[in-house]
Structures are given as C-alpha cells and as structure tokens.
C-alpha cells in the first residue's frame, strides 16, 4: 500500500516494528517501530515516557519525509528500545 502511495509521488514514512519485512518489500523510508502490537510506543513504560517515545517516533517519521533516499532506508527514533 505504502509503495503505491509513493508511486503516486507522495513520500511515505512507514512506521513498523517489522522493519526487516518493510525492507524486503522495498519500502523506502522506514521508521523503526517498537513492537508489532504497539508500533508507536511501549506500554511497559510510564505514561509520560510512553508519550515521549511516541512523540520521538513521529518526529523521526516527519524527518524521514525530509530525507533524500535512494532505496530502502531505516530511520531509528532516538529513544526506541527496539524490544
């Protein structure tokens, strides 16, 4: 789906915990999500930290839209644990 949107000329920042799959299917701007059932945040964190992590993930995605890329590129949010 995201690739069809890109083909139409709109850059897409794909937030996904399954980033190896996203790379395999050749998405271009991939942002590392936390986990499959909760890509934007981490329920094991305090409410405040969870919200901050989510903000950093979205901020990274916005930056990814500004980035010049040539092919599948992975962007890691600064606070993400990746777990």
């Amino acid at each position: 789906m995201s690739k069809e949107i890109e083909k139409a000329g709109l850059p897409v920042a794909l937030i996904s915990a399954m980033f190896p799959v996203a790379q395999q299917v050749r998405a271009n701007r991939i942002v590392k999500g936390v986990s499959i059932p909760h890509p934007c945040g981490d329920p094991s964190l305090s409410k405040e930290h969870d919200a901050r992590l989510r903000r950093e993930i979205v901020r990274t995605a916005l930056k990814a839209l500004e980035a010049e890329v040539k092919g599948p590129t992975l962007f890691s949010p600064p606070l993400a644990t990746g777990g």
Binding site: M1, S2, K3, E4, I5, E6, K7, A8, G9, L10, P11, V12, A13, L14, I15, S16, A17, M18, A22, Q24, V25, R26, A27, N28, R29, G33, I36, P37, H38, P39, C40, G41, P43, D50, A51, R54, R55, I57, V58, R59, A61, L62, K63, L65, E66, A67, E68, V69, K70, G71
Partner: protein, 353 residues
C-alpha cells in the same frame, strides 16, 4: 467425446473491431473465429459445442446482464470445460475472460481456462479471485504468439476436461494464483529444507515449496522541503476504528479502506476506539489507540511547530491489514493515494502493524 465451449470478444469472433465493441452476448453453433484454430489444435480428442462472443465494451458496461446470458448459454451446452481468450495484452478482453471464467466456475462448477500476457490487468484479477477451478496460461504480448498459445491451451483444456489432477503452477506452466495445496511426499520437511539450503549454499538452482512474492522497487518519492509547511496525513493498517466498528471491517482479508474524522480531537480516548485485526494481540491498542494512530504525539508536534497549523489532514485512513493479498493492497494504496492527492496532501505517515 470431450465437449468444450469457447468464449471470444467481437474481434476474435471475426465480427469487427472497436466499432463493434458494443455487441451484446451472442452464440454461434460450433466453432467460429479464433475457436476454429483452437479446434484444429484439439485434434480428434474434443469438439467445440458452441462459440460465445461478447463485445469488449458491452461486457464491462452491462456486466450483470452479460454474465447472466453467458451462464445460460454455457449451461445449455453442458460442456466439460470452458475456454476463453487468449487475450494477449488486451486489458478489457483479459478482464472479461477472467470474470467470465470465475462466474462459470462458481455457478456451473466446471474448470475454466484462459490465457493472456502476464502484464494484462486480467492477471491481477485472476490472482485476486484465486479461484481453484480457473487457470490462466501465459502468452506473448501480441497475436504473434497465437499458434503457440492455442497449442498449449488445447493440451491443458483436454486435461481439465478429463479431470486430471493439475500440479503446481511451477510444474504445469500456468500462472500462479497463490493457492497453497497439500501434497503427499515420502520425504519429511526437515530433509527437504536441508536439501534446499545445501543447494543454496552451493549456488545451485532450487525451487521453493512456498515461493515468495516478487516485489518491485518503487522509486522513492522526492523528499519534502520544510515538512512543517506541508500537508500531512496519517494512514494505518492497525485496524483502529471507532468503537463498534461502524463499517464492519473483518479481522482479516479486508477489501476496502475508510477514513475517520479527527479534526476536532486532541487525542483518542480509550473506550471510544477499538482495534479490529486478527493478526496481532489487540489488547494494547484497545487500551491506548495511540499505538496505531499517534494523534496525541501529532497534536504535541503541532503545538511545537513541527507540523504547521492546519497542516494535519482532518481524518486518518485505515484498513485492518491482516492477510491482505498484495493485489488488493496495491489497489487500496492507489485509491488512498488518489484521495490524498485530491485534497492536496503532500506527505504520509504510515503506521503498519
């Protein structure tokens, strides 16, 4: 003797070109047009009971009536197999061949065969329908491949008429529909997997028992300068929808998308939203829908100025992505892209589960 019914468009029936594309369904006794050459390729083993034609435009403009008439004509002829095409790279014809085969296979429960070039849009429809009774053979792009196509189609049609069991797409030469079939073998999975691995390590060719979809590269869209001055929208496959699932999404294999208004909202309140998705544990998402639709973060970034005022699209797009077939997802992506462009959206945040 084996009996077949043959379907062609107005052109391959020999009735005319584009000016006759509005012709309704008609039935010619025996073989006519392209069906004549097909009957020669069949040899003595089979005969064509009748040739049914339909105009390329008529079919798509009067689909229900056309399919009804075709089902009646095929039913009356009582064939063992239906053959449609070959459509080469003609899009309307390819689509009608696939849709006719699908309808006949479902209603009359007989095997159906068509053939066309791999890039014909009919092949996408064929893969999307994935009907176990419908087979499509690959052909050349143009009628240069006619003799070759008819020869292979004739042999395949005779096997279908005899109800022979047809093996995998790879071995039998038809276009794969992505149907997984059970097969008996005396060698267990671990042995077969190790065999494949050894071949791979020695750079020898091997055939996977579960071929993966081949993905094409999408040329990256150019980046946005100054994202804060751009119109941004959120799309998600998480399946987060208003509580009660008003558009009745299923937990898997959905075929449509929806968008839900968030213009007046600062955040998504738990209990007013739910995640409909059969592919992951939705408990976290139900507790906090922001894991799929990070509206709280977007509003904070708006307040900080990272997203310009009024730049966030007033609705988010959603589909539960579970088990979506690549062909359907491609179509949904195209539809969403068209909708976004209509409203001048310039960049997309896409949350995938």
């Amino acid at each position: 003797m084996t009996r077949l019914v043959y379907i062609v468009n107005q052109f391959f029936a020999g009735l005319g070109g584009e000016e006759k594309a509005g012709l309704p369904v008609g039935v010619l006794e025996g073989s006519a047009g392209a069906a004549r050459a097909f009957e020669r390729a069949l040899g003595e083993a089979a005969e064509i009971a009748c040739t049914i034609y339909v105009g390329d435009n008529y079919f798509h403009e009067h689909k229900e009536a056309a399919i009804k008439a075709i089902l009646a004509a095929v039913g009356a002829a009582e064939p063992q197999v239906l053959v449609a095409g070959p459509a080469f790279n003609s899009g309307r014809y390819g689509l009608s061949c696939v849709e006719i085969c699908n309808a006949v296979a479902n209603h009359l429960e007989i095997p159906c065969l068509t053939a066309m070039h791999e890039e014909n849009p009919g092949v996408d429809a064929y893969r999307e329908l994935a009907n176990a009774r419908v087979f499509c053979l690959p052909t050349a792009e143009t009628t240069i491949g006619m003799a070759d196509a008819l020869g292979r189609m004739a042999q395949f049609a005779i096997r279908l008429a005899r109800r022979e069991s047809i093996g995998s797409a790879l071995n039998e030469g038809y276009l794969g529909r992505g149907i997984r079939r059970l097969e008996k073998t005396h060698r267990r999975g671990a042995e077969r997997a190790i065999d494949m691995l050894l071949k791979k390590l020695h750079n020898q060719p091997f055939d996977s028992e579960l071929p993966m979809e081949v993905w094409d590269d999408a040329v990256p869209a150019p980046p946005l300068a100054q994202v804060k001055d751009r119109n941004i929208a959120l799309v998600t496959t998480s399946g987060v929808v208003p509580w009660g699932n008003p558009d009745r999404f299923k937990t898997y294999r959905n075929t449509y998308w929806r968008k839900y208004n968030i213009a007046e909202l600062k955040e998504l309140e738990p209990g007013k939203w739910e995640a409909v998705h059969g592919g992951y544990n939705v408990a976290y998402m139900n507790q906090n829908p922001h894991y799929g639709v990070p509206l709280d973060a977007l509003r904070t970034l708006e307040a900080e100025g990272a997203i310009g005022p009024g730049r966030l699209y007033p609705a988010y797009y959603v589909i539960p992505g579970n088990q979506g077939s690549p062909a359907v997802m491609r179509r949904l992506g195209q539809e969403i892209a068209a909708d976004l462009k209509k409203d001048n959206v310039e960049g997309v945040l896409f949350v995938a589960t």
